[in-house]
């Protein structure tokens, strides 16, 4: 019996070969290019000429005090917010600023929100079914049931996120931690190339946190993963490279030890 995580990986590899749209061109080993991005809301600069690159297969942690622009950055990548200036590319050839939210999702970027946002009145299975990769046009979903492969994939993901025995439960009835897992599960069935994960372990027990760390680390490699997190122990346990955001731009970047010993970072975190 293959471990669930291995099964997920096998699916991901198959999904990549099958993907309808052109896969992102990552021949330069970089999956995400953010350059000079500025976003202002009523004069407040949420992002200030932010420049950031994510490598293929990397697991990157992004930290920073409240208001540093972490969530705004995710909003820009997923098409929710349009920047005032700058460019955002997915691989060398996909310009994210010209795509809508569903097109970006289809291109291969998946997002987990800070506050767990699952479809509360749908069952656990239905939540994963909604997210599962495949043709998402209205006509297709109206007329065609799930394929065998999609079902298998959902079952495998249910296993990974430990929700197999809650598959018919209403998502609204899950505990906070389980909702977090369900949302991670939705991300997995969606089969993205790049996963944006906003505060995955908020509200989780230490055991759940540990399992999440394990899962994210196993996903890196096949996928590229960007994690925004406040929990420094968690970041320490998973990160190779950490980027510190402050006032909308990158303050420091490097290994967790470098970053934690960086004088500027200490000042920002400990206050002026």
């Amino acid at each position: 019996m293959m471990s669930p995580i291995k099964r997920i990986k096998k699916f991901a590899a198959r999904a990549r070969r099958r993907r309808a749209g052109p896969a992102p061109d990552v021949s330069h080993k970089t999956i995400l290019y953010l350059e000079d991005i500025t976003v202002s809301f009523d004069g407040f600069r949420a992002l200030n000429e932010l420049t950031l690159y994510i490598d293929v297969g990397e697991l990157r942690c992004i930290i920073g005090p409240n208001g540093a622009g972490k969530t705004t950055m995710m909003d820009v990548i997923t098409g929710k917010t349009r920047p005032d200036q700058g460019s955002a590319w997915f691989g060398q050839t996909t310009n994210l600023l010209g795509l809508t939210e569903p097109e970006i999702a289809e291109a291969g970027i998946g997002r987990k929100f800070q506050k767990p946002t699952v479809f509360e009145s749908h069952s656990v299975f239905e939540n994963l079914e909604l997210a599962v990769a495949g043709n998402k046009s209205a006509w297709r979903t109206l007329t065609a049931p799930l394929t065998r492969e999609q079902r298998d994939r959902i079952d495998a993901v249910l296993d990974v996120v430990h929700l197999t025995d809650r598959r018919t439960a209403t998502a609204g009835a899950l505990s906070h931690g389980q909702k977090q897992w369900l949302e991670i599960g939705m991300l997995l069935t969606q089969e993205p190339e790049l996963l944006l994960v906003d505060e995955p372990v908020a509200g989780m027990t230490p055991q759940e946190t540990e399992r999440t760390a394990e899962l994210l680390m196993s996903l890196a490699g096949e996928h590229s993963v960007v994690v925004v997190e406040h929990d420094m122990d968690f970041v320490r346990s998973i990160a190779k490279t950490v980027t510190v955001l402050h006032e909308g731009s990158v303050l420091a970047e490097g290994s967790i030890d470098d970053v934690q010993n960086n004088q500027q970072v200490i000042e920002v975190y400990l206050g002026e």
């Binding site: 929710k80 999702a105 997210a131």
Partner: protein, 367 residues
């Protein structure tokens, strides 16, 4: 055959729907018998007035179904569904007007009476084709759904939602009402169309035609229900409900929310148009007051009273509220609007899931 089985499969787990379809079948069998096979003097005899009244309720039920599909399942609160109903009714009315032929007061073989009265010399371009039933039938579906499609295209793509959308739909039906009131629009002005003679060669005043129309309405309602149930039980139905609950989340997992909304809205408008088209030959008149904003608000109240997001609840609500309306407007006409308002407030505060919600809760307690 296999696809037909798939089509009705959702009914297997739909208790409310089964009850509704059985009741509808009983009515569809009993009403014609009680109307045609019993003597006028019999206590069991149903008058033509009652047959028409029940037929009218079924048209309203179909309209309520259309409203529930988009409001209950997709969260689009349309306060303009009366407009689609009226457009379907007008399309049918145009056909019926052309069928009058030389039997009109002025006896003009081409022009309907109101055009002769206005001294028009020839048929306006948009009246051509309506002498053929198939063309009229096409327009009954196309006119409302095309308007809904265009409206939805602009509104949903601009991400107009919630109360703003509701207000625009009210404005839409109000604007259409004002337009149809004008004589030079070519739809009979404030008198609209009436004095219909026949439909597909059948005399509209004959008992048998009345019963046939009644049966067509019952079939349309049953089919409408089955199709709506199929839609909401499909994967697309779950996407639609996901859009209702968390629209932006649905976008982030790759759904083109606007496209789902536009198609559903257009389909719902087509259903409303068919309801209107069945309504007009039964009541014998269509005029611009059908576009009145209050009508569209009433539709929403039917759905809320019955229980939204259940389909059968909308049907129950349409029948209950309209029965109350028939009763009160004859017995205590001045009370009706107050009663309607009070009912809406009561249901909103105490019965958020409507009458069927109350029944389901009772059922759950007993079980």
């Amino acid at each position: 055959m296999h696809s037909l089985a798939n089509f009705i499969a959702p009914l297997r787990t739909d208790r409310g729907g089964q009850v509704f379809l059985v009741l509808l079948a009983i009515i569809a069998i009993a009403v014609p018998i009680l109307h045609l096979a019993t003597p006028d003097s019999s206590a069991l005899h149903l008058s033509s007035y009652s047959v028409t009244l029940i037929g009218k309720y079924m048209c309203y039920a179909l309209l309520a179904l259309a409203a529930d599909l988009i409001w209950g399942y997709c969260g689009i609160l349309s306060l303009g569904h009366g407009a689609f109903f009226a457009l379907g009714g007008y399309a049918m009315g145009m056909y019926l007007m052309r069928q009058i032929g030389t039997r009109g007061v002025y006896g003009d073989p081409i022009l309907p009476d109101f055009m002769v009265f206005l001294n028009w010399k020839e048929l306006p371009w948009f009246w051509h084709g309506f002498s053929m039933f198939w063309f009229a039938a096409l327009m009954i579906v196309l006119a409302p759904s095309l308007l809904a499609f265009l409206f939805g295209w602009f509104a949903f793509r601009s991400r107009v939602t919630g109360v703003y959308l509701s207000i625009i739909t009210q404005a839409l039906t109000y604007a259409l009402m004002l337009a149809f009131f004008r004589n030079d629009m070519g739809f009979g002005g404030n008198n609209g169309f009436t004095d219909f003679k026949e439909l597909l060669g059948f005399d509209l005043h004959k008992q048998s035609t009345r019963v046939a129309l009644f049966l067509c309405t019952a079939i349309a309602l049953a089919l409408g229900y089955v199709i709506c149930r199929y839609i909401v039980s499909s994967r697309a139905g779950r996407v639609i409900q996901a859009v209702r609950d968390a629209e932006s989340r649905a976008r982030f997992i790759g759904y083109r929310v606007e496209s789902y909304k536009v198609w559903l809205f257009a389909f719902s408008a087509a259903l409303a148009g068919i309801a209107g088209a069945l309504y007009v030959p039964q009541v014998g008149i269509i005029n611009p007051s059908e576009f009145a904003p209050i009508n569209s608000i009433e539709i929403v109240i039917w759905v809320a009273v019955g229980g939204r997001g259940t389909l059968y609840g909308a049907i129950a609500g349409a029948v209950l509220v309209n029965y109350a309306k028939t009763y009160l407007t004859t017995e205590l006409p001045e009370v009706w609007l107050y009663a309607l308002g009070a009912l809406f407030v009561f249901v909103t505060i105490f019965l958020p899931k409507g009458a069927v919600g109350l029944l389901n809760r009772k059922g759950a307690q007993r079980a």
